[in-house]
């Protein structure tokens, strides 16, 4: 935030309260705005934001050497990205995260209040969220938190959370097996091709190499080695297909981005 300056002491709190009040006023005003005008406002904001990035991309640049000696190319709009746009996006994300947390607590406290089946899961979730929030804030708020708090944070984060996360991740190994079993059952021509390709790649990347290692590494006979087949499937068949899909997806994103930028997109963002 060096471009805008950083408020200190009392002024920091004045700025925080001022911004909070202004935000509440803006949200209230937006809520009361009729949908037709709100849509126009949304389209305008989208266009201005998109125009900023388009101009930043197309306007001529010059070389700028930063304090640490790094050379970058910039035009007069580039410095606004780290000093204004990124912090603005972060503040908006923080606001919206509060909304997500509110949703989570509303749904689960409702489950508990109505004693819905499995409400004890909701109790566990609310307790975990509150405990983690308090311990996490306490640990990071001060430079030297009490040893007990630091240890509890370590136990909750490293001891519980990370292990549960890893346990979830490890489930994928079993799911891959069951999905592969269903996918590789030879029921059609496509299924047979899929099975044959998978077998070649698997053998070429594992013990299959041993079976053909007696063949020469160069010349015509090298084409019979399983790793040659495997790299052919990966490099000649699979990679171009993936590139083609990537180009198609990129074009789709470009078209959609253009429609949103120009405000001609309907549907989820701008309604009918």
């Amino acid at each position: 935030m060096e471009g805008l300056g950083v408020a200190q002491g009392v002024w920091l709190w004045v700025a925080v309260v001022g911004v909070a009040l202004a935000s509440v006023a803006i949200i209230a005003a937006l809520t009361r705005t009729p949908p037709r005008y709100r849509r126009r406002l949304l389209v305008t904001v989208c266009f201005v934001a998109g125009l900023f990035y388009a101009l930043e991309f197309f306007l001529p640049t010059r070389e700028v050497v930063s304090e640490n000696g790094m050379v970058t190319r910039q035009n007069f709009l580039t410095p606004f990205i780290p000093t204004l746009i990124s912090p603005l996006a972060e503040v908006l994300a923080a606001f919206i995260l509060g909304l997500g947390l509110f949703s989570l607590l509303r749904i689960h406290s409702g489950n508990v209040a109505k004693r819905k089946p499995g409400y004890y899961n909701s109790v566990a979730l609310i307790l975990s969220a509150v405990v983690m929030l308090v311990i996490g804030l306490w640990t990071n708020w001060t430079e030297s938190p009490p040893d007990g708090i630091r240890a509890t944070y370590g136990y909750l984060f490293n001891g519980l959370y990370q292990n549960m996360d890893a346990a979830m991740f490890s489930l994928i190994a079993f799911f891959i097996l069951s999905a592969a079993y269903r996918a590789f059952r030879i029921r059609s021509i496509e299924g047979s091709i899929l099975m044959a390709s998978a077998l070649i790649v698997l053998l070429g990347l594992s013990f299959g190499v041993i079976a053909t290692q007696g063949l020469p590494a160069t010349g015509m006979a090298s084409n019979l080695r399983i790793e040659t087949w495997s790299s052919w499937v990966l490099g000649v068949v699979s990679l171009p297909a993936l590139r083609a899909i990537d180009f198609g997806v990129g074009l789709g994103a470009l078209a959609m981005g253009l429609r949103i930028w120009l405000g001609i997109e309907r549907g989820a963002l701008f309604g009918d």
Binding site: I172, F247, G248, E265, A268
Partner: protein, 277 residues
Amino acid sequence: MLHADENWFVAVFMGLLVGLILWRIISAMHGRLPFIRRIPGLNAIDEAVGRATEMGRPILMVPGLSGLDIVGIQALNIFRHITRTAARFSTPIRLCVSDAALYAVGQEVIQEAYRSEGRPEGYDPDTVQFISGEQFAFAAGVSGIIHRQKVAATFLMGAFFAESLIFAETANTVGAIQVAGTTLTTQTPFFVAACDYVIIGDEFYAASAYLSREPVPTGSLAGQDMGKILFVVCIIIGCISFSITGPQYPADAPLFYKMFGSGGWEELLRALRGLVG
């Protein structure tokens, strides 16, 4: 940050693609609507909603780890259509998101979908749920919902990573019909292996045009196809000329190398990937 004067090839080619897309949008707005081929994955939406209605069980929609970006918005476009179909038959729906910004927009979209079908009372704010911003906590939460509520149909549309197979296989265990689509080529094979119908690559973006048949998305789709034709022409010219001349060509003709060799295309692909996020 990349700038036009650092990479003229990307800038010129992007400009050309934008021109093609806009031209086809304007043509479509003047009544020249192109033909759209059948996309089985999108046709299956009505089948899946019908099955859920018959079984009286909910439909689950998951945009993966998408945020409020192009992929997330397109996922919501598809979910909006599904919700409108479900609202007609009073079929319960669930939308689970991992991004708080998408949650806020999702609530608005689902509510509006019920309103547009003349059933505003059918909207329940609890149908749109923010689960968690953490990948595997989100996966665990959604899997729990699939199991507890015995969903009849799942729509997995958006940006998925390692959690894709957890969703698809969990839904398979409860016998749900599954339609999936992602823009990430790394996860498409998992969906192909585990789901009933898969929307591959740019079919994900074709959904708006396919489902609504409105001039703007339909024209935009035709523009994208013209862009693809341009790519194919460049690839064919590049293949033939480099097969004749050999790899020494780039040094003699840098412009030719950028247009038809790999020189500019890697950068263009990187720029296009940047749009997807």
